[in-house]
């Protein structure tokens, strides 16, 4: 697991805009503008910085400090050198020494954070919202998108509530569609604003490129509205889902498993299979102990073993109804074996960890593990390493 920040020393002044890190070999062959590329020097090589400056590179990433004043900015002595890797997109705080990683080539879970604002206030929000004008993010994100490898298979859009950006979100997605045509985009939204058809129309032409991941927490408004802490949210979300589906947008339904939602898992599955059979995917998600979820532990925490039978019913129900279904964020050892094929390694690589008990587990490599943020009071009592004899018993 790699952090998304590190500290490094800087000689000279780097530009404030996002930069692409490329190995020297790749940097010299790239079609990107070299003003947006920092060349990472291979260790043990002697490289003429003057020549790199001549070529217009934004800077250089090196292991050690330059001997004298370099002809172009040099980032060196990174606290954790692995954080600044080739192919990544980074930003160096102007004047400072902090390096932010905005895109990681070797990660399968890159996402773009578009806004801190939100129109809901979910009990288990892992990213508590903040009322702030962050329209500037879109311009910065477009800069970042230009530097993302076109071969990346999927990128998430997250917030906050992305649709609050309205046409600016459409602008970003169109930009991505143009610059990363082979990538699949996943936008996490509560879908409430799509109750207004006019908003749906802004995203015309992006069908098939974007999947809208929309949480629905129950089959009844009382539970859903309570979980998202907003009156009327349930019906707005349903309206939004139908408006999107009516325009042939792909929709993923997300359901977070906790004390408030577990009572109606079965009814929820039935509700979705009957009323949203067009869903391209339904994801049942274990709780991430972050943000509000930590504060609201008493309201939310339930040992997954308490709902796992209901979950099994719901997953099998949707599967039989022909709706592609997944289980996110739950370790294999607490799921019955017939649910394993639905379990995904969904925890982002930089958030994932395994427990000491996992050492002996034979399916550790297939297992999504645990959130790093989950202390012992967020762990199921049913966690135990899976061994061959266990599997024989089932």
């Amino acid at each position: 697991m790699l952090a998304l920040h590190t500290h490094a020393k800087v000689a000279g002044r780097f530009p404030a805009y996002p930069l692409k890190i490329l190995d020297l070999t790749e940097a010299l062959a790239t079609t990107l503008a070299r003003t947006r590329v920092a060349a990472k020097l291979p260790s043990g090589y002697s490289v003429d910085l003057g020549a790199l400056a001549m070529l217009g590179f934004a800077g250089v990433v090196a292991e050690t400090a330059p001997g004298s004043e370099p002809p172009l900015p040099v980032l060196h002595s990174a606290g954790d050198p692995a954080v600044v890797d080739t192919g990544d997109v980074i930003q160096i705080r102007s004047g400072g020494s902090q390096v932010r990683v905005l895109f990681r080539r070797r990660s399968s879970s890159n996402s773009l954070f578009v806004t801190e604002r939100c129109n809901s206030l979910c009990l288990m929000c892992s990213q508590p919202p903040r009322e702030t004008d962050d329209n500037w993010r879109i311009d910065e994100l477009k800069d970042i998108v230009d530097l993302i490898d076109p071969t990346v298979s999927t990128i998430g859009i997250t917030g906050g509530e992305p649709t609050l950006l309205g046409h600016r979100l459409a602008e970003l997605l169109s930009h991505m569609h143009h610059s990363l045509p082979n990538t699949q985009i996943h936008v996490l939204t509560n879908g409430r604003l799509f109750a207004d058809r006019a908003l749906v129309e802004l995203f015309e032409g992006l069908q098939g490129y974007v999947t809208w991941g929309i949480p629905v927490y129950a089959d009844v408004p009382a539970v859903h509205d309570y979980v998202v802490q907003a009156h009327g949210a349930f019906f707005e979300t349903l309206e939004g889902i139908y408006n999107l589906a009516g325009s042939r947008h792909a929709i993923e339904i997300r359901y977070v498993l906790h004390k408030q939602t577990m009572a109606r898992i079965r009814q929820f599955a039935e509700f979705v299979s009957r009323n949203m059979p067009f869903s391209s995917h339904v994801a049942f998600m274990g709780l991430e102990p972050m943000g509000f979820a930590k504060m609201n532990r008493a309201l939310l925490w339930v040992d997954p073993v308490e709902y796992v039978q209901d979950l099994r019913f719901a997953v099998n129900w949707l599967d039989r109804a022909g709706v592609p279904t997944s289980i996110f964020n739950l370790p294999l050892c607490i799921l019955q074996h017939d649910l394993w094929r639905f379990a995904r390694k969904s925890i982002s690589d930089w958030k994932r960890m395994y427990l000491p008990a996992c050492e002996r587990c034979e399916v550790r490599n297939q297992c999504g593990g645990f959130f790093r943020s989950s202390g012992s009071n967020w762990q199921s009592l049913a966690i135990s390493p899976v061994t061959t004899c266990d599997r024989g018993n089932s």
């Binding site: 002044r13 530009p15 404030a16 805009y17 020297l24 070999t25 010299l28 062959a29 079609t31 990107l32 503008a33 070299r34 003003t35 947006r36 020097l41 291979p42 260790s43 043990g44 090589y45 002697s46 490289v47 003429d48 910085l49 003057g50 020549a51 790199l52 400056a53 001549m54 070529l55 217009g56 590179f57 934004a58 250089v60 090196a62 292991e63 050690t64 400090a65 330059p66 001997g67 004298s68 004043e69 370099p70 002809p71 172009l72 311009d139 477009k142 800069d143 230009d146 610059s179």
Partner: protein, 203 residues
């Protein structure tokens, strides 16, 4: 379209013997060239018959652009380079800084000819406010770029042990000769197209 025997023969010969058929195409009737004609500038309609339009490897289409590249006086004086083994710069006192001083942030084109990007390196997004306009892409830089790439590849292959500086000096020339020998090329010590092709460098 009416099938002409000459066109038919051209197609068959074009597939079997591209070179000899080229002569035939020149003698071909003018009428056939109207509809399926290739882009202006290409010489023969037989190009249409290539099964897959690969861009041609540069060593086939003449003009050794980089064979003459030796160094750039403008950056020769800047010998501040990383020497990874010691972790310091080998510094020799810089002479009078050239007009395009590398220590200045790469600004908009320093000289008129630099303002015209020849390769695809111009900033894709003109509207982006922050990133400065790319000064790269001028033909001179292209030579520097290719020479540096060649040095890197020669070093990777174990033929070169000098500084990656884009200067085709004696050390690089010797490395090139060693490489050319290993590839059964003429040992010219020059970055000609055949050598670049073998190094896997397509500018």
């Amino acid at each position: 379209m009416k099938l002409s025997w000459r066109r038919y023969l051209e197609r068959v010969l074009g597939v079997l013997l591209p070179t000899s058929a080229a002569g035939l195409a020149v003698a071909g009737d003018a009428a056939a060239s109207e509809s399926t004609g290739p882009q202006p500038g290409s010489t023969s309609r037989l190009r249409d018959l290539d099964p897959i339009p690969f861009s041609r490897p540069m060593q086939l289409n003449g003009l050794d652009q980089f064979a003459g590249h030796r160094s750039h006086s403008s950056h020769r004086s800047h010998r501040s380079h990383y020497s990874g083994s010691t972790g310091t710069y080998g510094t020799s006192p810089p002479a009078t800084p050239p007009a395009s001083s590398p220590s200045a942030p790469p600004a908009v084109g320093n000289s008129p000819q630099q303002a015209v990007p020849l390769d695809g390196n111009a900033l894709p997004q003109k509207s982006a406010p922050s990133p400065a306009t790319a000064p790269s892409g001028a033909a001179t830089n292209q030579g520097l770029l290719v020479a540096m790439r060649a040095q890197l590849e020669l070093k990777r292959l174990g033929h070169y042990n000098g500084t990656i500086d884009g200067v085709v000096g004696p050390e690089t020339q010797a490395a090139l000769r060693r490489f050319q020998q290993s590839q059964n090329l003429a040992q010219s010590g020059v970055l000609d197209n055949a050598t670049l092709g073998k190094l896997g460098i397509q500018p």
